[in-house]
Amino acid sequence: MSPGEFFLQQFINGLAIGSIYALIALGYTMVYGIIQLINFAHGEIFMAGAYLGLAAILLIGSIGPIGAAAGAAPALSLVLTILTAAAGCALLGLAVERVAYRPLRQAPKLSVLITAIGVSFFLQNAVMLSFGAQDRYVPPLLPVLHARIGSVTVTLMQGIVLAVSLMLMMGLQGIVYGTALGRAMRATAQDPLAARLMGIPVNRIIAVTFAMGSALAGVGGVLFGLTYSTINFHDGYLTGLKAFTAAVLGGIGNIPGAMLGGLLLGFLEGFAAAYLSTQWKNVVAFTVLVLVLILRPRGLLGERVAERA
């Protein structure tokens, strides 16, 4: 393996893990953008998505005719699994918003933040009690295929992670900047009171934002489970923290920023492990975060906007 191939192999891996970070980071950034809340339960939604994906895979496999059809067309079962997890997480996000955050809309920001941590505990323990405390094995939906270019290998799963993430990010960008719903979301983000006066159903828009962000995290969870094939009820913690870092790195509240931050974090971790040592990968990633925040306090793509009263 030449140094060039080494770099390329690391680049491909960073791209795959970075896109998963980016998918989760979008949820953090969308929710922050619209109600200035760091939704600490978001990592748990991602983890729940991984478990919902597992449940869907097992369910699809166990229902005779569907299982046979899915066995014949693995792509179909992949799509079904992703849709199940996305829908399930969207509902979960809606429920969390309705039960835990909406009643506190007028409360101080800190109360909501603490509630978010409480929700995170709740979801972790709920998943632990219903699925067990052990690592769960996620059976592969697709055959393990490698493409080889010289000594660089790309797995089918890496390709799918990248393709699905890109499609979702482009879709989201299209919704936010190209539809009436997106305009309503942006208006609510700018000024909820004025948005309400303009006839925008602010609460419903906020709920939709939660649902969309959660659905993306759910898809991220499925891709994560299929890539690493083991999931655990506390996987949401570390990965959620990294995705949050990615969102801050890119500029929290900024959608392209979350995508950029996710990919950047994937690369940073990968290259730190590759050229320094694995022990240092988190140190490097978080040092870069600190430096970015010192030099550009609102993140890489964050805009300088005046604090709202």
Binding site: M1, F6, Q9, Q10, N13, G14, I17, I117, S120, F121, Q124, N125, M128, G132, A133, Q134, D135, Y137, P140, V144, H146, S151, T153, T155, F224, Y228, S229, T230, N232, H234, D235, Y237, L238, T239, E269, G270, F271, A272, A273, A274, S277, T278, Q279, K281, N282
Partner: protein
């Protein structure tokens, strides 16, 4: 942070439930054996197997008649979630319970080491089943006994196997930065260098992480003949799977923390094929005195875990010490254990040296073939 707090809450409620259970119990006074190990978290499979071994020992003893007349022997099982901070709080809880006269635990050396200081201070007999880091018994605690061989035996046995049987000279070492993993890796490296191996690199990974591909890509470029991993099965499964995806041809050899069937489930049989692990002790199914235990265990719990026999043996030793002491008294139980010259159990006849370590020093070697662990040989 959050995980620790949430699991601590869980443990606290379990502990409260346990003490309440004891409070409104059946009238008969109890004498308790503490058990501590990872009952939740990624190593819960191994911890639960250990708990079952301890349970079986206590149940069998209770069925055979009272150990101490007038006292009911009970197991007080607590969860350390393989987290050293939790292990300390669990140890303090056990030490504070006057009914607890001895402790069997923990699994991880990183948990056993800090906890052992608390048991020592409380004067509680501490019999450890499987924490193989040699430093633990070098602390000079006279209440500490251990029934498994240590890593200053396991590391050299692994190095000998890697070099003599697999013919590996160029070796890359990975550990999980824990007391156990780092300690075992260092013992392996020392022994392998002594035999003339070239250690091409030594890196640590973090427990709980999932993406070890950047490291493995580096390993692929360095192209060693063997990868040695000192750590536990959840991380080993990911390493094996990602090594398979990158098609790294190097042999894979690991320590006893990998000897757990879940490893093969998590990695997939194809990716785990041909990996080697060293184990504490030989093949339990071939041990002459273990037949009844294996049958009783499998009849009750189904599958026999790698560490079940060790916690069973440790609990039986504790029960023997309690029987000899004949009363609920920590110093008496400890003295009875200290006077026990040797103990013949299912693993063989233990004699304890001045550090409290067993003289049974066998290290086994297994390979994974067709989705199962297959016994190869035993040394020492």
């Amino acid at each position: 942070m959050r995980r620790t707090a949430s699991t601590r809450l869980l443990v606290a409620s379990v502990a409260i439930a346990l003490t309440m259970g004891a409070g409104c119990g059946k009238g008969q006074p109890v004498i308790k054996i503490g058990f501590a190990g990872p009952l939740t978290g990624d190593q819960a499979a191994q911890g639960t197997d250990m708990l079952h071994g301890a349970e079986l020992a206590v149940d069998q003893a209770a069925a055979a008649g009272p150990i101490v007349p007038g006292l009911r022997v009970e197991l007080a099982a607590l969860d350390d979630a393989r987290n050293p901070a939790m292990a300390v709080s669990v140890a303090k809880r056990l030490a504070a319970d006057p009914n607890v006269v001895a402790v069997v635990g923990h699994l991880n050396s990183s948990c056993t080491k800090p906890a052992s200081a608390i048991y020592h201070e409380a004067g509680v007999l501490h019999v450890n089943p499987v924490s193989s880091n040699p430093e633990i018994s070098r602390q000079g605690f006279d209440n500490f006994f251990r029934i498994c061989p240590t890593d200053d035996l396991q590391g050299p046995a692994a190095a000998r196997f890697a070099m003599e049987r697999l013919g590996a000279r160029r070796i890359f070492v990975i550990d999980d930065l824990t007391t156990y993993g780092r300690g075992l890796a260092n013992e392996f490296i020392k022994a392998a260098r002594g035999r003339g191996a070239e250690i091409l690199g030594h890196e640590g990974i973090t427990q709980g992480e999932k993406d070890f591909t950047p490291l493995l890509i580096k390993v692929k470029m360095i192209n060693p003949e063997l990868i040695y991993f000192a750590g536990m099965f959840p991380e080993a499964a990911l390493l094996l799977k990602q090594r398979f995806a990158l098609q790294i041809p190097a042999h894979f050899l690991g320590g006893d923390g990998l000897f757990e069937p879940t490893l093969i489930d998590l990695a997939g049989a194809e990716a785990a094929e041909g990996a080697y692990v060293t184990t504490l002790g030989g093949d339990i199914r071939q041990a002459p005195a273990a037949g009844d235990f294996v049958r009783a265990f499998e009849a009750k719990y189904g599958h026999l875990g790698a560490y079940s026999s060790y916690s069973y043996e440790a609990t039986r030793i504790v029960l023997e010490a309690i029987r000899r002491a004949g009363r609920k008294d920590r110093p008496a139980v400890l003295a009875a254990m200290q006077q026990m010259k040797s103990y013949s159990g299912i693993l063989g006849t233990h004699t304890f040296d001045s550090k409290g370590d067993t003289t049974l020093r066998t290290i086994g070697i297994y390979t994974i073939k067709g989705g199962r662990f297959e016994f190869l040989e035993a040394s020492g």
